[in-house]
């Protein structure tokens, strides 16, 4: 019967290619019996046809022809799983450096990173890059699956070495305390079923760690935000402003400021899908009526205190995905931030982040998949918060004017771990 409402956890797999991310997700879904019978049969048939054993678990998510031929993940696969306590939205991400943009796509909407590390190989450069990107994107919670324990005879020393390495990096990156689990994704140890091979391990299985994570909890530090997407004309002549609420809930009677204009007013009424609400929770696509006449439109922002700032100059962190480098005199770009799109110029490239040392070096350009710090000037004013205060009002993308391709993920502000080492 109607399944009761459950708390949703969005997670992304993170880590270097071949450390076992897809196998881990396949194992998680198969052992919780969340793969449909016909899908499982199809995975078995595809495994046999490609001569990779009875059941290649990575094929549960690696569904493209090229992925199965090459035995790699190229783009993010989304899977949906309901456990007795939680709904999981799983983004299985690729590990290769050339698919970093796809990994960023999968992680940008995640609350938790499920990190796979091959215990025999240790923490690779590419895993460090992914952890840094996940931290930049604001993924605070980490569950580390120390994988392929079968290849080191379940050595506790090897496990603890990896846990220490990841833990040290996570601490520098400002992540929440790491939960680590020794697993063999291939054989199914400690993923869903508890293993007898590591009697020294008393912590949770991967599934238990995901179910217990409090990644949804968050201390609010900014006010309510409603970026106006669309204006709805009501019978009788009134107007309501539609958008997705972020930051904090919005209530009838709240004193709000319409930005960038700076008009102070208050919320007269809130509607959701035609019915009246007293309060619109974060994540609700509400439309609101204001107490004063305004000329608000798409691209404007309705906010409660503490207010975001209005600016045409941004100090920002960018992950560059363009095929050609980001340069001061490079291709023409525009910037999309909330519901506003504006021409943008790169005023300065202020540094390049070395993902290994976390040091910032001078740079003239950012190559594909590099992370750097830039100063941007926009044609129109933007209404922004620091990314660390609000993912919605702090995040933006850069778009190539000629091809309309999305070429960068941008975050307002700089992460503390990088500036500290400059």
């Amino acid at each position: 019967m109607p399944v009761a409402t459950k708390d949703v956890l969005r997670l992304a797999t993170v880590g270097s290619v071949d450390d076992g991310k897809s196998t881990l997700i396949g194992r998680l879904l198969v052992d919780t019996r969340l793969v449909a019978d016909d899908h499982l049969d199809a995975v078995a048939a595809a495994s046999e046809r490609r001569g990779v054993g009875d059941l290649d678990l990575s094929f549960v998510t690696d569904g493209l022809r090229a992925e199965r031929e090459q035995g790699i993940t190229i783009d993010v696969a989304y899977r949906y799983a309901t456990t007795p306590t939680r709904k999981l939205v799983i983004a299985d991400c690729p590990g290769h450096v050339q698919y970093t943009r796809n990994m960023a796509t999968g992680s940008s909407t995640a609350d938790l990173a499920l990190v796979a590390v091959d215990v025999a190989a240790g923490l690779k450069e590419q895993t460090r890059r992914h952890l840094v990107i996940a931290a930049l994107l604001g993924v605070r919670a980490l569950v580390v699956a120390v994988n392929k324990m079968d290849t080191v005879e379940w050595s506790r020393t090897a496990y603890e070495r990896v846990v220490a390495e990841v833990g040290a990096l996570a601490a520098v990156l400002g992540a929440a305390p790491v939960v680590a689990v020794p697993v063999s994704a291939l054989y199914g140890d400690n993923v869903v079923e508890r293993s007898a091979r590591a009697p020294w391990y008393e912590g949770p299985t991967v599934l238990e760690a995901l179910e217990a994570s409090d990644a949804g909890a968050w201390e609010r530090s900014c006010g309510a935000r409603l970026p106006v997407q669309w204006v709805l004309r009501q019978p009788g002549g009134g107007r309501t402003y539609a958008g997705l609420v972020s930051g904090e809930a919005l209530r009838v009677g709240d004193a709000v400021t319409l930005l960038p204009a700076g008009v102070e007013t208050s919320i007269r009424s809130i509607r959701y899908g035609g019915r009246a609400l007293d309060e619109a929770a974060v994540g609700i696509a509400a439309d609101v009526e204001l107490d004063d006449e305004t000329d608000a439109g798409r691209g404007d922002l309705i906010a409660t205190a503490p207010l975001p700032r209005v600016t045409r100059e941004l100090e920002a962190t960018v992950c560059w995905f363009g095929d050609e480098p980001l340069e001061l005199t490079g291709r023409r770009l525009r910037l999309k931030h909330t519901s506003r799109t504006t021409p943008v110029r790169v005023r300065a490239i202020e540094g390049l982040l070395d993902v290994g040392s976390l040091e910032v070096a001078d740079a003239e350009a950012l190559a594909t998949n590099e992370i750097g710090f830039v100063r941007l000037a926009t044609a129109e004013p933007l209404v922004v918060d620091d990314y660390r205060e609000d993912r919605v009002t702090g995040g933006f993308v850069l778009v190539d004017e000629a091809s309309h391709a999305t070429v960068a993920a941008g975050m307002v502000g700089r992460p503390p771990f990088a500036t500290a080492r400059r």
């Binding site: 595809a46 796509t105 909890a217 530090s221 999305t406």
Partner: protein, 308 residues
């Protein structure tokens, strides 16, 4: 300490409200950013939910785009009735692009009277998109349907040949949906990307949505073929050794009537369907779609050609 950005998931939000809100957001975003959107409407449950969401997103105004049915000509009459009823109720402008016209004009070869026209629809669809100059097409596809769909962006770019290239998808960060294209190109927009079959049915039950009657258990003559129950009628005739039986069935998906299987079911109410879907161990397409069974990557191959 507030170390890093807040979670993407809002705690405490009802999950159907979260899915609905995300879909309303996508609908509004695409309409605001694209010049000529269209909503693809098959008369199936997913497109019925999509149409309902579109009406909600822009109420009290009407739909700011037309609705397009790509008609294989192999229809269940209950679905055509529903299509016309649903469009009329919302005052939607209904366009119909017929695969038969594509056959008559020589755009595609005629596969024969009783053969599936599922794959041919891509040509009819792309021709209609070009003819009307649409730059965005909303579809009801969900990522839980198929392993290739599981890889697709919410806003999915199509080149001037209508092709999906899974190796060159645009990055899609957060909920910053970016749908601009050059002339001749378009995007497909999938507001139900994150919905599962169960979510759709729970939502249909919550909103008490009207659907074609074939989604609910009824008696009908069927034959067993390729492991599926096919409805005997204009488009499916029993072959030599096949025995026609009257069974209590319902449809889990609605497609080309020559290749869409029914499932044995006694679920006659919304609540019974929700319970049945929650307990199902076979996927929706696995139970009902003939053409997805024979090739490992049939959906990917069709999508590359411009399929829904």
């Amino acid at each position: 300490m507030t170390a890093l950005a807040p979670p993407a998931t809002a705690p405490g939000l009802d999950h159907l409200d979260a899915l609905e809100s995300h879909a309303l957001f996508i609908l509004r975003e695409v309409v605001a950013e694209c010049e000529r959107p269209v909503l693809l409407f098959s008369g199936g449950k997913d497109s019925a939910v999509l149409l309902h969401l579109a009406a909600k997103a822009f109420a009290p105004q009407g739909l700011p785009f037309p609705v397009l049915h790509v008609d294989t000509g192999h229809n269940f009459p209950e679905v055509l009735d529903f299509r016309d009823r649903a469009a009329a109720r919302l005052g939607a402008r209904l366009l119909v692009a017929r695969v038969q016209d594509s056959i008559d004009r020589g755009r595609v070869a005629d596969p024969g009277a009783l053969a599936s026209r599922n794959r041919l629809q891509s040509v009819t669809l792309l021709d209609a998109i070009a003819e009307h100059g649409f730059d965005a097409a909303f579809g009801g596809a969900r990522r839980d349907e198929d392993k290739a769909r599981a890889k697709e962006r919410v806003l999915s770019f199509r080149d001037e040949f209508g092709q999906w290239d899974p190796r060159r998808q645009r990055p899609e960060l957060w909920r910053l949906y970016q749908g601009r294209v050059n002339p001749g190109e378009h995007v497909r927009a999938f507001p139900l990307s994150d919905w599962t079959e169960l979510d759709v049915w729970q939502y249909v039950a919550r909103e008490r949505l009207d659907l074609p009657s074939i989604y609910f258990a009824h008696e009908r003559p069927v034959v067993r073929r390729d492991g599926m129950w096919l409805a005997v009628g204009e488009f499916v005739q029993p072959r030599d050794a096949e025995r026609v039986e009257v069974r209590e069935v319902r449809f889990r998906t609605v497609g080309d009537a020559t290749g869409t299987g029914a499932v044995l079911s006694g679920a006659r109410t919304l609540e019974e369907v929700v319970a049945e879907v929650a307990a199902a161990t076979v996927s929706e397409r696995g139970a009902t779609r003939g053409d997805d069974r024979f090739s490992e990557t049939s959906m990917e191959d069709r999508k590359r050609e411009g399929y829904f």
